[in-house]
């Protein structure tokens, strides 16, 4: 009996199936809860770029913006935890089993698990802010933040180090994780280009229908407009995030199932059921 290797392609297929076919609702909830965070981050980035050298003269204004970003982080983290739990439930119970759960049970998270994940997510957010200027740390910390979300359904005992160690223990297989990070590093600019092109097409179509040319909208929704570029980057991150978290949940579950032998037990059960059906 040969066990098939866990590959980046197989993980991506499973993640796309989860997000687009089985869990569009929780994916939509994830995008909705992350919307305020992404737009506030875009607003803060835009203000910093506009202020430039004068940024240090507007510390109180920038601090109030940063406080709003930190406040928006909490519902975004809750949305990620609900989505990761939905992915885990759908993978273990099957899509139909998940959808039979009442809505309240699908949205409810165990308090200890959520607080542990909130702590880990905030820790990695702080590390990200401290090291983002190096550029090299961005994919590493994006991976750690995603793994913290993917392992949040596994949280059982709260602890300062337990949550962080759980992320480190589930960071395997490294090859698949590196492959996923590379794929999503390319996916972000592709999503950005598609999103900004979509807006351009909508403006062009509206111009065709109204007959107006060289409108204000064409200038506003072009790559020459810094605000539009920053918002399009935020929009691209929103679109890619559900697939990113779903891929990591699939990777963590499959790696754990292979280590515990759960995948072999499920395979034997499927074989036995198929055999019984054929006999019947």
């Amino acid at each position: 009996m040969i066990r098939t290797r866990l590959t980046t392609g197989a993980v991506l297929d499973a993640a796309v199936d989860l997000v687009s076919r089985r869990l569009p609702g929780p994916a939509g909830l994830l995008i909705l809860t992350s919307l305020p965070l992404r737009f506030l981050e875009a607003w803060l980035a835009n203000r910093l770029i506009q202020l430039g050298d004068d940024a240090s003269d507007h510390v109180s204004y920038l601090t109030s913006l940063s406080l709003l970003v930190s406040a928006a982080l909490i519902p975004a983290i809750w949305g990620r935890a609900v989505f990761a739990r939905s992915c885990a439930l759908a993978l273990s119970a099957g899509g139909e089993g998940f959808h039979r759960l009442p809505l309240r049970d699908r949205l409810r998270l165990p308090l200890a698990g959520f607080l542990s994940y909130l702590y880990a997510a905030t820790f990695f957010e702080l590390l990200f802010i401290a090291t983002e200027w190096t550029l090299v740390a961005i994919p590493v910390l994006a991976l750690l933040t995603g793994l913290a979300a993917a392992t949040s359904p596994l949280e059982d005992r709260p602890g300062f180090f337990a949550s962080l160690l759980r992320v480190a223990r589930n960071a395997r297989p490294l090859g698949v994780l590196a492959g996923l990070t590379t794929v999503f590093l390319f996916a972000l600019p592709v999503a950005f280009i598609n999103l900004s092109a979509l807006f351009q097409i909508l403006v062009w179509a509206a111009g065709l229908m109204t007959g107006a040319t060289d409108s204000w909208w064409q200038a506003a929704l072009s790559w020459y407009n810094q605000q539009f570029v920053i918002l399009a980057v935020a929009g691209a991150m929103l679109l890619v995030e559900p697939f990113w978290i779903a891929s990591l949940v699939v990777t963590v579950r499959q790696a754990r199932a292979r280590q515990s032998g759960e995948d072999l037990a499920a395979w034997f059960d499927a074989l036995r059921n198929r055999g019984q059906e054929e006999v019947a």
């Binding site: 910093l48 430039g52 909130l118 702080l126 983002e132 300062f160």
Partner: protein, 96 residues
């Protein structure tokens, strides 16, 4: 003196093991328990069920303390992130 008062008391039997004599009485539920069923918890006798309840209560208090410290730690990290975001953002805006 009434001689009946001097009569020795009937030996009490363990609540869980009727064939064994009771060593003590559980302080929480007042049930007689034998040596095997009794555990000393901070100097008082407890039966198996009440011991489990006391252990669960201690575990809950420890978890509540851990959760409270975690929440405080999270708010401290959020405050640090708020300040660091502005500081690094301002430095990067000035440099670039």
């Amino acid at each position: 003196m009434d001689l009946q008062l001097l009569r020795p008391a009937t030996p009490t039997r363990c609540f869980n093991h009727p064939d064994r004599p009771a060593l003590a009485i559980c302080v929480d539920c007042r049930r007689p328990v034998c040596q095997a069923c009794s555990t000393l918890w901070e100097g008082i006798h407890c039966c198996v069920d009440c011991l489990a309840k006391r252990r669960a209560a201690v575990g809950e208090r420890r978890d509540t303390l851990r959760l409270t410290l975690l929440t405080l730690g999270t708010f401290a990290l959020l405050a640090g992130a708020t300040i660091l975001r502005v500081w690094i953002g301002a430095v990067l805006a000035e440099v670039f």
